[in-house]
């Protein structure tokens, strides 16, 4: 069984073809679907998060977004309540389908790749590659020893 990490919070199980929550491992929805359809959504007044720092009685602009212009859609895992995604939208703007993957191509791509269950260690810049040309790049990625 091979799973591919897609975001900080989501992965795809290539065998079951399901989106999964990385926090609780729950299956969310089919991988060929919009993953948001497997989540809960809350329409948040942005002033609850970005609170007015200037006195609203004195000023119209207070460092808080204008709720008539902007809302925050918060997407939660229905099983564990992790916040999977946020979307800042004008009121009524249809949420966008931010991720559409070719699942057949993904399966073919990962057929011979070893599974990565923990994201690779991040460094600010991987200097080791040092512009060494194509062979160095392949050695760096493990395509060539």
């Amino acid at each position: 069984m091979k799973k591919v990490l897609i975001t900080e919070n989501l992965r795809i199980d290539l065998d079951t073809e399901k989106w999964e929550c990385r926090s609780c491992e729950a299956e969310l929805i089919g991988a060929r679907e919009n993953y948001k359809r497997g989540l809960l959504v809350h329409n948040r007044d942005p002033r609850e998060i970005h609170k007015p720092l200037l006195d609203p009685a004195k000023y119209e602009l207070t460092y808080a977004p204008n709720p008539d212009w902007c809302r925050i859609l918060e997407y939660y895992c229905p099983k564990c309540g992790s916040m999977i995604e946020t979307e800042y939208l004008p009121p009524g703007h249809p949420p966008i389908r931010d991720i559409t993957l070719d699942i057949d191509a993904l399966k073919a791509q990962w057929k011979d790749r070893p599974e990565v269950s923990v994201p690779p260690a991040d460094k600010d810049t991987r200097q080791r590659i040092a512009h060494g040309g194509q062979r160095a790049a392949r050695m760096f990625t493990g395509e060539e020893k």
Binding site: T7, P46, I84, P91, L101, V116, P120
Partner: protein
């Protein structure tokens, strides 16, 4: 029917048309082509044979050192404020004009835009008898329509000849600032046509026999507010190019012409191959995102940048359809070449910072635009404040590319949420304390907060989104040259942060006033006062919104003399406590056309935060407490946003109570959340809210786009965008005042009539009696 032309007639006709061209405007064949040229016959011959990699490496090292040296010369000698903070670069190009290398600490976007005018010179001036391209020539340019980011940037481009043959081009570019536009400082928000933008230099020859042509220099000096700056930096760019040329000639002497040509060409071809490999290793699919600017800089409006990136095999397509239509009488349009350059600059900062800095990175990319959109603006649109969409352009790709790159077994850099994306800096103009006219902008533009990263928080006030190394300048140096006084300089903006598992870096407060000038004023050109600028990533929150704050009708220096303890250098305290009696306190969108101020009046703004990364409930409580210790967030934020329970006096975390508070919040989320399919049934509206001046597509469908024409909403086909034309904001204001006056008059007349009726009523009553 006329007989077809004979070959001789056709040749004569072609020659006639070529020799009688009315106007050498920007050439779409150049401006819409971001790819490297095909190999020349010589390059083909040289690169078909075995290449000595060691020799290439030696030549590349020598050229890199030369570029570094020439860039440092600008930094040391340049007069423009931009040159002192790193806002410049030198570059080297193939003979065909493709950018091969830039100075290691240069602003790459400059060089990644200069290849367009070099190709223009190659195509049009080389064989033009009245111009020509010869050894010792130098060409100047600033109009972004011929290639560039915006018209404040001036470039010197110089061909290098060897054995009487053109072997390469070199360039030096500086953000000059002042350029004679309708407002000082070179970035006029008030420009309503391109003729308000000041200097608009198509590429022309300004150097012959390695000397500046003084008649042309004088013309340029005569066209700007700061003739000293114009002369000095033209000299600086020329001499930087001359030093670079000297070093390249040494390379030619030592290694030969072929080694140089192979090195420059191989550098870009290797990059193209590596980029194709990187695209191939990404998953196939489409990632979408969008970003909103909330101002045209003259009025509030919601302008959409719409992006879909599709990867298939080794092809990558950037689709920008559905973005806002262009505005004919606002300065925030950008042409497609500027858009590509800035997308590239952001890409190199956030996605592939390890690649050599050459525009060849984008050669495998395809682009799709709507005609007449805000990032594919037509020739006649004003583009002086293209930074509004272009700053967003630099950060927008961080979101879709994070979603393409997260799965990869190897990372070339950290996954990073978008950096703050607006030019939050004060632009100034007027008479200095040295009695000289000037106009320019403050280095605070370079102090933007970074987005949260997959492995750590974002850096505070780290850089602009176009160059990681640019500095925020020395206040003391600025105060020597200008009447500006900074009351608050670099205090981080407490609680104004992109919250997340990894929080964003923060911006800082800027509290400006001035003294010692009889005429001084400011403008700001920034959106994000109603709708947050920085997008979050993977469930984080964005930056907040930021207003421009003013304290007018006072002289703070008098207050500081009388009661210094009563004037805190803190925007929130100054505005909420209003400690200066009799002063007028106000907030405004951070888009202000130029206005004169009085000495001692205070103008305040903030540099912004980036987007937060990940769920706030996953942030390590210890990191939250560290944020409190560093005075980055308040106790309320720790408790209410991050759900950390702690003892206020000691700062000790109650781990059990924190775990419970977070579990409770997760339960509360599940309770208040609505299943997506049910949610969109009530949330989605067929079109934007009636009172929202909205510009762009609504949802994913790019076939229909909304806009505003003379105050009225219009809906148009995405395939045939119409240019928008906005009402004069003063007319709109006058109309609203007139409506108020009419309403008052009506109410007054009504009251009078009611009074008369009342008065008449007792009389009638009395008569009856």
């Amino acid at each position: 029917m006329n007989a077809p032309n004979t070959p001789e007639q056709q040749a004569m006709l072609d020659r006639f048309v070529r020799q009688n061209k009315l106007f050498y405007g920007p050439d779409p064949a150049i401006m819409e082509n971001h790819r490297i040229e095909a190999r020349s016959a010589l390059e083909e011959r040289l690169l078909s044979a075995p290449v000595d990699a060691h020799k290439v490496n030696e030549v590349r090292g020598l050229i890199t050192a030369a570029l570094d040296e020439s860039n440092t010369m600008i930094e040391q000698m340049g007069a423009a404020p931009g040159a002192k903070w790193g806002d410049m670069t030198t570059g080297i190009f193939t003979a065909a004009g493709d950018l091969s290398m830039i100075a290691p600490y240069g602003v790459g976007g400059f060089a990644a835009a200069v290849f367009y005018p070099i190709k223009f010179v190659n195509k049009y001036w080389t064989h033009e008898p009245s111009v020509g391209v010869h050894d010792g020539d130098g060409f100047i340019h600033n109009d972004a329509r011929y290639g560039g980011i915006h018209n404040t940037d001036q470039s010197m481009m110089m061909p290098i000849f060897w054995n009487e043959k053109l072997v390469c081009w070199i360039s030096a570019t500086i953000h000059e600032g002042e350029n004679g536009a309708t407002e000082p400082g070179g970035m006029p928000a008030a420009a309503e046509s391109k003729f308000d933008e000041g200097l608009k230099m198509s590429p022309f020859k300004v150097v012959e026999k390695f000397e500046l042509k003084r008649d042309l220099v004088t013309f340029l000096q005569n066209s700007v507010r700061d003739p000293k700056l114009q002369l000095e930096d033209m000299k600086v760019r020329l001499h930087s190019c001359l030093r670079l040329r000297e070093r390249v000639i040494k390379v030619l002497e030592e290694y030969g012409e072929e080694a140089l040509i192979v090195t420059l060409r191989k550098n870009i071809e290797d990059v193209v191959e590596e980029v194709k490999r990187r695209i191939r290793e990404m998953p196939d699919g489409t990632m979408r995102t969008m970003s909103f600017a909330d101002s045209t800089l003259r009025e509030s409006a919601l302008l959409k940048l719409n992006m879909a990136i599709t990867v298939q095999g080794d092809k990558l397509t950037v689709d920008m359809r559905g973005s806002s239509p262009e505005l004919l009488n606002r300065s925030i349009n950008a042409c497609q070449a500027s858009f590509k350059t800035m997308l590239y600059s952001g890409w190199m900062q956030n996605v592939w910072p390890d690649l050599p800095f050459t525009m060849a990175v984008f050669t495998p990319f395809d682009f799709i635009f709507d005609e007449k959109s805000i990032i594919n603006g037509s020739f006649d649109t004003p583009q002086a404040m293209s930074l509004i969409p272009l700053f967003k352009t630099m950060t927008i790709a961080s979101v879709p590319m994070a979603k393409f790159n997260y799965s990869l077994p190897v990372r070339y850099t950290a996954i990073v949420a978008p950096q703050y994306d607006q030019p939050a800096t004060l632009i100034y103009g007027g008479l200095t304390q040295h009695a000289e006219f000037t106009g320019n902008f403050c280095a605070d533009i370079n102090g933007m907060g970074q987005g949260g990263r997959s492995h750590r928080d974002g850096e505070h006030s780290v850089s602009p989104p176009f160059a990681a190394h640019c500095d925020i300048g020395e206040i003391e140096l600025m105060e020597e040259d200008l009447p500006l006084v900074r009351l608050g300089a670099f205090t981080l903006t407490k609680d104004r942060v992109g919250f997340g598992k990894q929080r964003s870096g923060m911006g800082y407060e800027q509290i400006h006033t001035f003294r010692g000038s009889a005429m001084w004023g400011y403008m700001t050109g920034c959106s994000g006062s109603l709708f947050p600028s920085s997008q979050p990533l993977f469930g984080g929150y964005s930056s907040p919104t930021y207003p421009l704050c003013k304290i007018k009708n006072t002289d703070v220096f008098e207050q500081l003399q009388k009661n210094p303890e009563r004037v805190p250098f803190d925007i929130i305290k100054l505005m909420n406590e209003q400690p200066i009696e009799g002063a007028a306190y106000s907030t405004h969108p951070m888009a202000m056309t130029f206005e004169l101020a009085a000495p001692g009046e205070i103008y305040m703004m903030c540099q912004g935060a980036g987007g937060g990364y990940g769920d706030v409930l996953q942030r390590d409580p210890a990191s939250v407490m560290k944020d409190i210790e560093e005075d980055l967030i308040s106790h309320d934020t720790a408790r209410e946003i991050y759900k950390v329970v702690f003892d206020a006096a000691s700062g000790v975390i109650d781990e059990v109570a924190t775990a419970k508070a977070r579990a409770d919040e997760r339960k509360a989320r599940m309770k208040r959340g609505v299943p997506y399919d049910k949610f969109v049934k009530t949330w989605n509206t067929p079109e934007p809210p009636v009172n929202l001046p909205y510009m762009g597509c609504w949802g994913d469908d790019v076939s229909e786009v909304y806009g505003v024409m003379m105050g009225q909403r219009v809906k148009m086909s995405g395939a045939a965008l119409q240019s928008q034309f906005m009402l004069n904001p003063k007319d709109v204001y006058i109309a609203s005042l007139e409506a108020q006056v009419a309403a008052f008059k009506k109410a007054e007349a009504g009251a009078k009539a009611a009074g008369a009726k009342k008065k008449a009523a007792p009389a009638k009553k009395a008569k009856k009696k």
